[in-house]
């Protein structure tokens, strides 16, 4: 029983990592990974949003849409749920750390359009996950996202001070690094 959840987690974090294997959520991945602290703030925000949105989506789907045979409305309602959760998160962030709010800037409300969040919500439905499974899946996706974001931010910080040839400076070398990291994560294939 517990093993199932563990496997679900490992699968979401490493094997089918949402960013580097499934290529979802690339916008904040490239946009917020310039500094380690910003990345950590962003991953905390996204974890919060993902887990909460995953649960809320599950509840909305199973207790509102399905009984009323409105399953076809899931995309719209999930987007609604996610937008609300993100808005809520933004308020919390602005209150607790105005600097993080200013630094994350437009990327905080853009979590709404983060395809990883919507992806998790929809995948939960596709895979017919139970409540606990949805929770773990959402949390695992968030942990995977955070892991990759933090790793990538640390690498980009080093790249900023390194001797990169001019044509490659900035986003270019970032993309190359992301590609190599993606290759590395494909090594997990077959683990679960």
């Amino acid at each position: 029983m517990l093993a199932d959840y563990a496997l679900l987690l490992v699968g979401a974090v490493l094997v089918n990592n949402f960013v580097l294997v499934q290529f979802l959520g690339l916008c904040p991945f490239m946009g917020v990974s310039n500094k380690l602290e910003t990345a950590m703030g962003m991953s905390a925000a996204t974890t919060f949003v993902l887990t909460l949105a995953s649960v809320c989506s599950y509840l909305t789907y199973n207790y509102l849409l399905v009984p009323l045979e409105l399953a076809y409305l899931r995309t719209i309602s999930f987007i609604l749920v996610i937008a609300v959760v993100v808005q809520f998160t933004e308020m919390v962030v602005r209150k607790s750390s105005p600097l993080l709010h200013r630094v994350l800037g437009v990327y905080l409300p853009l979590i709404t359009t983060n395809c990883a969040v919507l992806g998790v919500a929809l995948l939960n439905i596709n895979k017919s996950h139970s409540f606990t499974q949805s929770l773990f899946y959402g949390f695992g996706a968030a942990v995977g996202f955070s892991l990759v974001l933090v790793l990538f931010a640390a690498m980009r910080e080093r790249l900023t001070v390194a001797d990169v040839p001019e044509p490659f400076q900035g986003a270019a070398i970032g993309m190359v690094t992301a590609g190599l990291a993606s290759l590395a994560f494909m090594g997990f294939a077959g683990l679960v």
């Binding site: 080093r158 900023t160 001070v161 390194a162 001797d163």
Partner: protein
């Protein structure tokens, strides 16, 4: 036999010690002029207490210490004060600094020196005062005022005195020579210092490439026979074992905490030359006026260790050692690892001059141009402070002060081991020196701007308050005037004033016309 520890990293550059024939002290004699910089130590410069034209005796105070971290300067011989001016001094910048110039009269008359026969009868604080009065600063190269270093600090107990006879830098043999020729004075000085700081144990550290010095020290310590807790320890030669923190780790296994001082682990470290200076000051009453300087390098035909009066111009010494300058000849103040090049030979020998190195171009070639860092990590292997020089290099280049402090840049002892091993010949230590200076500057600027902000806001508040007071007074005046007008017989005071003025003017014109 005490267990010797090892430090992380370190390098083994060619020693070149035999070149300067350690064990013999030659006399450099009296030069024609003595230039005494007012700042030969860490801390505030000394202030002159003599004037141009004064006659001074040897040992006389010519500049007094200012403040808590400072040291005085004494005349090394009798003569006249010829000048107090800005003169070239040994400093990596090549800039001038305030100096007192003495022209010796050749007679070498000294003022009466009063010593103490048994120092244990005197209070340690009085001995510290004597050390302060003798103008003693650390002779190992840094020049920290000794009196300040041995001053007891509340809550800090010292249990061990370490005499640093390591002299790990290549070429330099001044301490080696001192220990070989005057081991007894070193031990006596150490006993005085241990008494002052309250240390029970004295450890003498001598690297194993100095067997004669080791022998001499061993004999002196046994002869003076203060029993246990007095040990002469030897350890394998490695650069930079002579760094204070490194030596402490080697001999005691203790590590000085990051950003801390040896006193934090109950240890005080002193150079043997400083110990001898302390002994001379206390027992003979003689202030610090001379030291042993190694003159070495293959551009000199007579390298050796010379006893030199402070203030002797380097040119005088180079004559004594038969200097044959080559093309692009460099003169290095200090050793090849931590020394700096001198801009002119007119600079004087100061308290921190342990060596003048005159290498030929083949002996010590100019460093090749730096190439790109290949991230080999040899620098991290060599660092005796267990830092990450490669990261410090990248962050120093990127001017990332936050990361530099996170990587403990201020724990770097600037020994140069990392630059020495770098296959790309990157001058790493210079990056760290520049970075440290920039961080200090930023901190200072930040303090300044905080102060300015406070003053500005105080001024804003004052101006607003004054404006408010003026406004209040004006309003009060107006209210009072209105009150007055109200209590008067309905007359408008303004109209009344105008009428009075008109009357006065009419009167004036009347008077004027009538004249």
């Amino acid at each position: 036999m005490k267990f010797i520890h090892n430090i992380h990293g370190g390098i083994h550059p060619p020693e070149e010690k035999a070149l300067s024939r350690p064990g013999t002290v030659l006399d450099a004699g009296l030069p024609n002029t003595l230039i005494l910089p007012l700042s030969q130590h860490i801390g505030a410069p000394a202030e002159p207490v003599v004037a141009v034209g004064d006659t001074v005796l040897g040992g006389q105070l010519v500049a007094q210490a200012t403040g808590n971290v400072s040291a005085g300067v004494h005349a090394p011989t009798s003569g006249t004060i010829t000048d107090i001016l800005m003169h070239a001094v040994p400093h990596p910048s090549g800039l001038d600094n305030h100096c007192i110039v003495i022209t010796p009269d050749g007679q070498d008359r000294w003022q009466t020196l009063v010593g103490i026969s048994d120092f244990r009868e005197i209070e340690p604080s009085a001995l510290v005062d004597s050390i302060h009065a003798a103008g003693i600063a650390g002779l190992g190269g840094a020049g920290f005022p000794t009196a300040t270093k041995v001053l007891a600090r509340a809550g800090i107990a010292i249990d061990t005195l370490l005499i640093n006879g390591t002299e790990c830098e290549p070429y330099i043999t001044a301490d080696d020579t001192l220990m070989q020729t005057n081991a007894r004075a070193v031990v006596e000085g150490a006993e005085i210092l241990a008494y002052i700081v309250g240390a029970q144990t004295i450890l003498y550290g001598v690297e194993d490439n100095k067997p004669a010095a080791l022998n001499a020290m061993q004999q002196a310590v046994t002869a003076l026979g203060n029993g246990e807790h007095r040990e002469v320890l030897t350890f394998p030669t490695k650069y930079p074992s002579g760094g204070e923190k490194q030596l402490i780790e080697i001999l005691t296994g203790k590590q000085v905490p990051s950003g801390g001082l040896p006193a934090d682990v109950g240890i005080v470290c002193q150079n043997p030359g400083t110990a001898v200076a302390v002994r001379d000051a206390i027992i003979d009453g003689k202030p610090l006026t001379d030291r042993i300087v190694t003159l070495t390098g293959r551009a000199l035909s007579q390298p050796g260790n010379y006893r030199v009066r402070l203030g002797t111009p380097v040119s005088h010494l180079l004559e004594q050692a038969n200097f044959n300058p080559g093309k692009k000849q460099r003169l290095i103040h200090g050793g090849p690892m931590m020394g700096f090049a001198l801009a002119s030979t007119s600079v004087p020998i100061i308290k921190t001059t342990n060596c003048i190195l005159a290498p030929t171009a083949e002996e010590l070639p100019e460093p090749p141009p730096a190439q790109a860092c290949i991230r080999c990590g040899l620098c991290a292997e060599a660092c005796p402070a267990s830092l990450l020089p490669q990261q410090l290099y990248w962050y120093a280049r990127a001017k990332d002060q936050e990361q530099l402090e996170k990587h403990h840049i201020f724990d770097c002892i600037e020994c140069g081991a990392c630059s020495w091993v770098c296959p790309s010949h990157i001058p790493l230590v210079q990056y760290y020196r520049a970075a440290k200076a920039n961080i200090h500057e930023t901190r200072q600027e930040r303090q300044r701007s905080d102060r300015s902000k406070a003053r500005f806001e105080a001024r804003q508040a004052r101006v607003e308050r004054e404006a408010a007071e003026r406004e209040a007074k004006r309003a009060a005046r107006k209210a009072a005037a209105q009150q007055k007008a109200a209590t008067a017989d309905g007359e408008d005071p303004v109209q009344a004033a105008i009428a009075r003025a008109k009357a006065k003017k009419a009167q004036a014109t009347l008077n004027g016309e009538s004249d």
